[in-house]
């Protein structure tokens, strides 16, 4: 059947080897596959599986120490045989690529127009005037508002989502036959991800562009791909069309990947740990009480001759109570203030206004010494496991450090004993005790971070994007571990994440933040079953579900307009334009109890918001 269509891209027994100080490392161990015109092929795998390297080799972008054998055929060329000059006639023109990190993938000192023009000048014969028209049309095409103004801006003046759109526009300028997308939405917020994926799907249908989508996210694959290759350790372990892979997975690894994906539509999969229910009637009492906390940073903006400082309201009046043993999930997109809030709760950043009380006593205004005492019970686990451990300390030293600080009198031997027990508890091998962080994997380092946070048996642990940097399989294990520890030590957790599916799985209650303010706060199952605030609805609808039939039938909710700048005073009325129109610029939407225990910020209805855009 595929014999009838000639594939545009085919890979034949491709091997990629990197020469390193520890000898040659084979990253890709002989893979074969092809891409037909106009289809979207997904290459799925976890970090280090070699999924990007195949395409880096095709684009001539392998690192200097990489070498290849085998064939990559694109149209009528064997790409591996071409000289750089010959390859330059193919890449950027017939085959183009977009990358994971849109923030750093554009040249910072050139305007958008200059960067786009370059491509046309190189590959097409067009007059300067036509060139500019084409660039402008493409920015419109990828739905960048005010395209004309944007063309003359520099990359840092654009948001991450806009920069990825520019990347897509730039790679589509010459109507390529193949677009390679290497984790194109991984660094973006879910609502932006949904828009970028829709855009790519549209281009595929309208232009007949084939897409190679490299990703770790099974939800993205379910939404986009026709066929899938599952890659592990340099080899394809399973390949097939999307429905076969999702509904009849054969290989253990594929099954495991699918099973590890947290699902927003179905959090209580049987294979997963059940969240321990807590008695909702227990009152919070005086456990943790956050009252109207604000954190403002002074930002210098140029304004006339002398620059002036303007407060950036990172957190702008957040209140909540936490019960003992409860997990409160805090979700929101980048820049919503969730990490700042976490740091303010722990007094790592002193709040500008409001109080945080712990067991009935305020934490703010304490001396360094008094605060240190409290810190024993208040711990935090950070996002980047490797960067948050001291590279010059062995992991046992890192885990032991709280003991040295808080239990200085304890004999060294006993400390070591406790470290060993904690390592057992978080699933670290005892013989790793003298290793350094760089010798461990990301997941192992995160276990070290958790062990360090847990060794004093704290009452509250804040997980600040603690699983976001990890592969799904590892992420599932770490979540499992956190829930076990919670049960064992009667822990309370503040679980901060941008990933709604994960938060749903671990939290009793969920708080949705938008630009430093709470827009909705309710019990987990309520908020997912009956989201009230338009922003919550939008967020939930944007999370891809790893099930092609369900995912393709879902419709994502769009609210027109870009994320406003947090320094814009009218930003808080983003969901209440009626007040803006009525001239009440300083109106602050109130948090109203919609149902018992379900709080929602005042807003206009979704239909009104969509009509307004």
């Amino acid at each position: 059947m595929t014999d009838l269509i000639k594939p545009i891209f085919s890979v034949d027994d491709l091997k990629i080897t990197f020469s390193t100080q520890d000898g040659p490392v084979e990253a890709v161990k002989g893979v074969n596959f092809h891409i037909n015109p106009g289809e979207c092929v997904g290459i799925v795998g976890e970090s280090g599986s070699g999924k990007s390297q195949t395409f880096m080799a095709a684009m001539g972008l392998l690192a200097e120490n990489g070498s290849t054998s085998g064939q990559i055929n694109f149209q009528d060329h064997n790409l591996l045989q071409l000289s750089t000059t010959q390859l330059n006639h193919v890449r950027g023109k017939n085959m183009s690529m977009i990358f994971q990190d849109p923030l750093t993938s554009l040249t910072p000192h050139m305007t958008i127009l200059q960067q786009m023009r370059e491509v046309i000048k190189l590959h097409m014969q067009l007059s300067q005037k036509d060139t500019d028209i084409v660039c402008h049309q493409w920015l419109d095409r990828v739905r960048i508002a005010e395209a004309k103004r944007r063309l003359n801006q520099y990359p840092h003046e654009l948001s991450g989502g806009m920069r990825q759109r520019v990347m897509i526009a730039m790679s589509m300028l010459c109507d390529p036959a193949l677009l390679i997308a290497d984790e194109p939405t991984t660094a973006l917020d879910v609502t932006v991800q949904a828009e970028i994926l829709d855009l790519m799907d549209e281009l595929k249908r309208e232009k007949g562009t084939a897409i190679a989508l490299i990703t770790h996210d099974m939800g993205v694959v379910a939404r986009m791909c026709d066929r899938i290759h599952v890659m592990r350790k340099g080899q394809y372990v399973e390949e097939g069309n999307v429905e076969d892979i999702f509904y009849k997975p054969q290989h253990e690894y594929t099954k495991m990947l699918l099973d590890s994906m947290p699902r927003i539509d179905n959090p209580d999969k049987t294979s997963h740990h059940k969240l321990r229910s807590i008695d909702q009637q227990t009152t919070a009492g005086d456990f943790l009480n956050v009252d109207d906390v604000k954190v403002h940073f002074d930002i210098k903006v140029s304004d006339g001759f002398w620059p002036k400082t303007v407060p950036l309201k990172a957190v702008d009046g957040v209140s909540f109570k936490l019960r003992p043993g409860e997990t409160l999930g805090i979700v929101g997109e980048s820049g919503c203030g969730k990490s700042t809030l976490a740091r303010a709760v722990l007094q790592l950043i002193p709040p500008t206004h409001g109080t945080v009380s712990w067991l009935g006593k305020p934490l703010s205004g304490l001396t360094r010494h008094e605060l240190k005492d409290k810190r024993k019970d208040l711990q935090i686990v950070f996002q980047d496991p490797l960067a948050s451990l001291d590279p010059r300390m062995t992991i046992s030293d890192s885990i032991m450090e709280p003991l040295v600080t808080f239990a200085a009198g304890m004999p060294k031997k006993e400390m070591k004993q406790q470290v060993m027990q904690m390592m057992d508890r978080v699933g670290l091998d005892r013989n790793m005790i003298n290793r350094y962080p760089h010798e461990l994997s990301g997941g192992q380092n995160q276990r070290v971070g958790i062990a360090r946070a847990m060794i004093m048996k704290p009452k509250l642990v804040i997980c600040d994007e603690a699983v976001s940097a990890l592969d799904v399989s590892v992420q599932a294990q770490i979540i499992e571990l956190l829930m076990d520890l919670q049960e064992e030590f009667k822990l309370s957790l503040l679980f901060i994440s941008h990933d709604l599916a994960v938060v749903r799985e671990v939290s009793h209650r969920i708080m949705v933040l938008y630009l430093g303010r709470v827009v909705e706060l309710a019990e987990s199952k309520d908020i997912y079953a009956n989201p009230v605030h338009p922003y919550t609805k939008q967020l939930i609808s944007a999370v891809p579900v790893p099930d092609p039939k369900i995912e393709r039938a879902r419709k994502s909710i769009k609210i027109p307009g870009e994320l406003p700048s947090p320094m814009d005073p009218s930003a808080k009325l983003k969901f209440m334009p009626s007040k803006l129109n009525a001239g009440e610029v300083n109106y602050i939407p109130k948090l109203i109890e919609h149902n018992p225990g379900h709080f929602v910020a005042e807003h206009d209805s979704l239909a009104e918001l969509q009509a307004a855009g």
């Binding site: 684009m59 972008l61 750089t84 193919v90 890449r91 690529m97 000192h109 370059e118 491509v119 520099y154």
Partner: protein
């Protein structure tokens, strides 16, 4: 951009005033005076001398008169040691000399150093790269007081091509050796900084994007990589330029060029208060000025800095 330049320039003024006050104070705190000799002067003579130069006045009045002279008349006062010559005369004589060989050295150092660094980065881990790194290290550790005599031995004594010293109105034969001796180590530093920053830029994501567009290597380097790679070089060039144009004692003494470097050392050894102050202020103002120029260049190279 314009208001940034004005602001940056205005903020230099207090820095210059503080510089003047501190050097004034340091000089007066140092023991000895311009008139102390081994035998000592008779007290009446000393008193007369001090009155003539205003040293008998309270310190604040001294500073006031000094500042007034500089600001309103651009007058750095008389020299304490070179009789009948004012500091202005000495500056007018020495400064053009150092400026001439300084600017030339700067041009040579930049014109060779930057391309050398770029080429080494582009040909990373090749023989050319190793040779360039070897040259940089060699040239940087070779001090100019070793370099100068070697040059004289080769070009004056053996080959008899160039005069061994003197200035002669800055004729080119007299300029060559001072320029080589002064520029070599700066050239090496510039090449090294350019190479490492270029290497870093060449590994960044936007260069990968440029390659993926199909751009030829030359435009990747000139259009995409050069500007960001030059940022650290520029911050080095500001102070380096000031050092070069304010002269080098070694060059002035070894080649008898008669530049500022020589006067600076003499002034310090002789406790020639006004000359030392004059030279310090000129050097200081230059440093502050070129740091301001560096900041402004930064804003031009990096659109994120535009404030």
């Amino acid at each position: 951009m314009f208001s940034f330049i004005v602001r940056r320039t205005l903020s230099s003024i207090p820095t210059i005033l503080i510089l003047i006050l501190i050097s004034f104070a340091l000089m007066r705190l140092a023991p000895g005076s311009p008139f102390s000799t081994e035998r000592g002067l008779p007290p009446e003579v000393l008193a007369n001398l001090e009155a003539k130069y205003g040293l008998n006045l309270p310190w604040y009045e001294q500073i006031y008169t000094y500042l007034r002279g500089i600001i309103f008349e651009f007058d750095f006062g008389p020299s304490f040691k070179y009789k009948d010559r004012s500091v202005n005369d000495i500056l007018a004589q020495g400064f053009p000399v150092t400026l001439t060989y300084g600017i030339w050295s700067f041009v040579v150092a930049v014109a060779v150093g930057i391309p050398l660094g770029i080429a080494a980065a582009v040909k990373h881990n090749t023989k050319f790269d190793y040779a360039a790194v070897g040259f940089s290290i060699g040239a940087q550790v070779l001090p100019n007081f070793v370099m100068a005599p070697i040059l004289v031995i080769i070009f004056t004594l053996w080959l008899n091509w160039l005069p061994g010293g003197g200035w002669n109105g800055g004729q080119w034969q007299y300029l060559i050796m001072p320029i080589i001796a002064l520029s070599t180590s700066y050239m090496a530093s510039i090449a090294r900084i350019t190479r490492s920053s270029m290497l870093e830029v060449l590994h960044s994501n936007f260069i990968r994007t440029a390659k993926a567009k199909g751009l030829p290597t030359s435009s990747i380097i000139l259009r995409h990589a050069l500007k960001p790679a030059l940022l650290p070089v520029i911050s080095y060039l500001g102070p380096a330029f000031v050092y070069m144009i304010t002269g080098s004692v070694i060059i002035d003494i070894y080649f008898s060029t008669g530049g500022m470097g020589q006067f600076f050392v003499d002034a310090a050894l002789n406790r020639d208060y006004s000359l030392l102050m004059g030279v310090t202020i000129v050097f200081g103002v230059m440093t502050i000025l070129f740091n301001a120029i560096v900041d402004i260049t930064y804003a031009w190279l990096d659109p994120k800095i535009r404030l």
